[in-house]
């Protein structure tokens, strides 16, 4: 019983990442009808927002420390972060320690702007072009973004540790211990997902967007500038992907190709959930995450070797062949 619970928990944090990325993808697909292959790159940019903040907080200057000496008796130079000068020792180091959660504040405006610029600068011109062209141009953009990040941050993974207070393990149930940060990640994902749904469900803005998703032309005829709202939705989708990336850093150190690694999987998630269906994307994300973690158990890999690596694709193929609209997709979306 404990083992099953542990597998479910294991699946939840991977599933949270899938769900968040797929939620953004579906949001873009549902509103703008664009297949965004650069979405993984947005996830990666989010993770590198955390890296940037961490580096900014660690900026330091050298001070001669008289209390420490090297073996010749000369005083040593030590690096003192500016934060410790400004806010005092304890406050400064606390700020540095909490760099990943703090990066959220930085990532939200950055991702909104990135999303806005991307939509206005590029995607806008591709509404009328075939889906293949959209895939191709966003694929090109993904390569470009990935290479820019690689140029400035290097090809090696960069550690972004979780805050001290959230980095240990916790006793979930008697006998079941689990890393705290993964629980935090899951709660965070749940909060974001709930936030997006609440925003779409309970605000006028969200209502108009939903109306626009159902029938863009009619909403336009009512005198509402739907394009502007959809642009904002693109920014929001980018922010969701980016925040998923920020918080994912402590689980897996950010590297420049993490976007491409997650991209294929998140597309699979979207397809399984149903193109354009927000609840579908979330459901499929968690479902596939949990499925993957069950497939990685020793029992599964000994009965069916390699199942842990192909399970998601296998599910996707079966779903695509038997029910192309996915678990919760509307009928007729891109079925031709």
């Amino acid at each position: 019983m404990d083992a099953i619970l542990l597998q479910i928990l294991n699946g939840l944090d991977k599933g949270s990442a899938y769900a968040l990325i797929a939620l953004g993808l579906t949001l873009i697909f549902g509103t703008l009808g664009v297949v965004n292959f650069a979405h993984g790159a947005l996830f990666m940019i989010g993770a590198f927002c955390a890296v940037t903040i961490q580096r900014l907080l660690n900026l330091s200057h050298e001070v001669i420390d008289e209390t420490q000496t090297d073996f010749l008796g000369n005083p040593l130079k030590v690096k003192v972060p500016y934060l410790q000068d400004w806010f005092g020792e304890s406050m400064g180091s606390a700020l540095q320690d909490w760099s990943v959660p703090l990066a959220i504040l930085f990532a939200i405006p950055v991702m909104l702007v990135v999303g806005y610029v991307m939509e206005r600068g590029l995607i806008k011109h591709f509404y009328k072009r075939p889906h293949a062209d959209q895939i191709l141009v966003t694929f090109g953009l993904a390569i470009v973004l990935q290479e820019i990040v690689k140029f400035y941050y290097g090809a090696n993974p960069i550690q972004t540790p979780a805050p001290e207070a959230l980095s240990g393990v916790a006793q979930v149930l008697p006998g079941v211990v689990y890393p705290v940060w993964r629980i935090v990640y899951f709660c965070f994902a749940a909060a974001i997902i709930a936030g997006v749904f609440a925003f779409l469900q309970f605000t006028t803005f969200g209502m108009v967007v939903r109306a626009g998703m159902a029938d863009r032309e009619t909403v336009g005829l009512l005198g509402i500038d739907i394009d502007k709202r959809f642009t904002f939705m693109f920014g929001l989708a980018a922010a969701v992907a980016g925040l998923a990336g920020v918080m994912y850093g402590p689980i897996n150190a950010p590297n420049y190709h993490m976007g491409m690694d997650f991209l294929v999987l998140s597309f699979v998630v979207v397809v399984v959930g149903g193109m354009g269906s927000l609840p579908g994307a979330v459901l499929a994300g968690f479902l596939l995450g949990i499925l993957e973690s069950f497939a990685s158990t020793t029992w599964a890999t000994t009965t069916l070797p390699g199942i842990n690596q192909i399970i998601i694709y296998l599910v996707a193929i079966i779903i695509l062949l038997t029910r192309p609209r996915g678990l919760m997709g509307r009928k007729g979306v891109m079925e031709d």
Partner: protein, 403 residues
């Protein structure tokens, strides 16, 4: 000639001349000169040009002609490589049986994947092929280790049986791939003044295959079958209404392009007898998509040009490092020199992918027909200027784009 009309014959002759004279064309700079690093006329790279050319020609039959965007074609390349290496291990180091086997196996594999994937079209088809390719990659990497040798990759060793050949050379080394005794790595250097031109047996073998593959592609493009594929691309619903079932045609196109990919994979293994799982990853499939689009999807010569261009950039641009750049801009004042180097540096060397990505985006945005369309536009511009009075404009307007 050979059942082609005049235009296609000319095109074939151009390709023939380009491939046969490649050692000269790609080596325009004297060996010792500063520009020698732009020379691409060495066998390794020339082989890669033609092999990826074949791969892209095949991909173009599916994507350019039929309109199905597959993101999993590298799987067939990988399967071709693996089967060729197994042939080297078990039968002999002669490359003919290896290549034949790789084409057949890739064809069967494509038949299986195509049969399933082609039940869906559009984005669903892309994701299905992607899923299959990733699955093959994961399997080749882990479970199928007895066949694929996992992450180490499949290599030939001294202990292989090689029924029709020798397991080891008399001097104890591993035998090299050959075509009835002609070693693939045999090369002959010709020195003309300061230039050195290298002629390699392996390259010319690949080049002949490329010519054959190109000829076959022309015939497919011009055949009624090719017309049918074009019809499927332009409007499948209408085809259904006329009572034609597009399924067999798309499946045939898929299998043919898979066989081309297998051929490319087999050739790759024939030139360098090893195969690894990375060849099957989806980013490798992305590469052939880039090649085809960059050159011009749906055109005959485009994919070959695109493949050549990407492979050229990959090998030449990536060699340029900071020192070389400083050498280039040395004539500028110091501050300006550093500035220019820092501007150019992100786009060359390790950053050449960035150049590729930007180039690719520009092509998709502004030049959907690829480099071929670009060339046609420039050509039309000149023709219009040259003969304004005669009805040149009308003639130019009549020209079909993308052929």
């Amino acid at each position: 000639m050979l059942g082609l009309n005049k235009k296609d014959t000319n095109l074939l002759l151009v390709v023939l001349a380009l491939t046969m004279l490649a050692p000269f064309i790609l080596n325009p700079f004297p060996t010792g000169s500063a520009m020698a690093q732009f020379n691409a006329g060495y066998p390794d790279l020339m082989q890669r040009f033609v092999i990826f050319g074949i791969f892209a020609i095949g991909f173009n039959i599916l994507f350019g002609l039929t309109g199905y965007l597959s993101f999993g074609h590298a799987a067939f390349l990988g399967v071709g490589s693996y089967s060729a290496v197994w042939m080297f291990k078990l039968l002999s180091m002669n490359i003919l049986p290896a290549i034949i086997l790789s084409v057949i196996i890739a064809g069967l594999f494509a038949l299986f994947i195509g049969y399933i994937s082609l039940r869906r079209s559009g984005i669903y088809f892309s994701i299905l092929t992607l899923a299959f390719a990733q699955m093959s990659f994961a399997l080749a990497y882990s479970v199928l280790t007895p066949i694929t040798n996992g992450e180490t990759g499949l290599q030939i060793t001294l202990s292989d049986p090689r029924i029709l050949g020798s397991s080891a050379m008399p001097d104890g080394s591993i035998p090299v791939t050959n075509l009835f005794g002609l070693e693939m790595r045999a090369a002959w250097d010709m020195a003309v003044g300061p230039w050195t031109f290298t002629f390699s047996a392996g390259y010319y073998f690949c080049a002949v295959i490329l010519i054959l593959a190109f000829y076959l592609a022309i015939r497919i493009f011009r055949s009624p079958f090719g017309m049918m594929l074009r019809a499927i691309k332009s409007n499948q619903t209408r085809m259904n209404y006329t009572g034609l079932n597009p399924k067999p045609y798309t499946l045939a196109a898929f299998v043919i392009s898979g066989m081309y990919a297998g051929l490319a994979g087999g050739l790759m293994a024939a030139m360098d007898p090893l195969a690894g799982a990375e060849r099957m990853q989806w980013t490798a499939s992305g590469e052939v998509v880039l090649m085809t689009i960059l050159g011009g999807a749906g055109t005959l010569i485009g994919p070959v040009l695109g493949a050549g261009m990407i492979k050229y950039f990959e090998n030449i641009l990536s060699k340029i490092n900071e020192t070389v750049l400083h050498g280039w801009f040395a004539f500028l004042p110091d501050g300006l020199e550093d500035f220019m180097v820092s501007i150019v540096y992100p786009f060359v060397g390790k950053g050449w992918h960035l150049t590729l990505g930007i180039l690719f985006m520009l092509v998709v945005i502004f030049l959907p027909g690829g480099l071929v369309e670009g060339g046609q536009r420039i050509g039309r511009l000149f023709r219009r200027r040259g003969a304004k009075a005669s009805g040149a404009e009308a003639e130019a307007a009549k020209q079909q784009p993308g052929e």
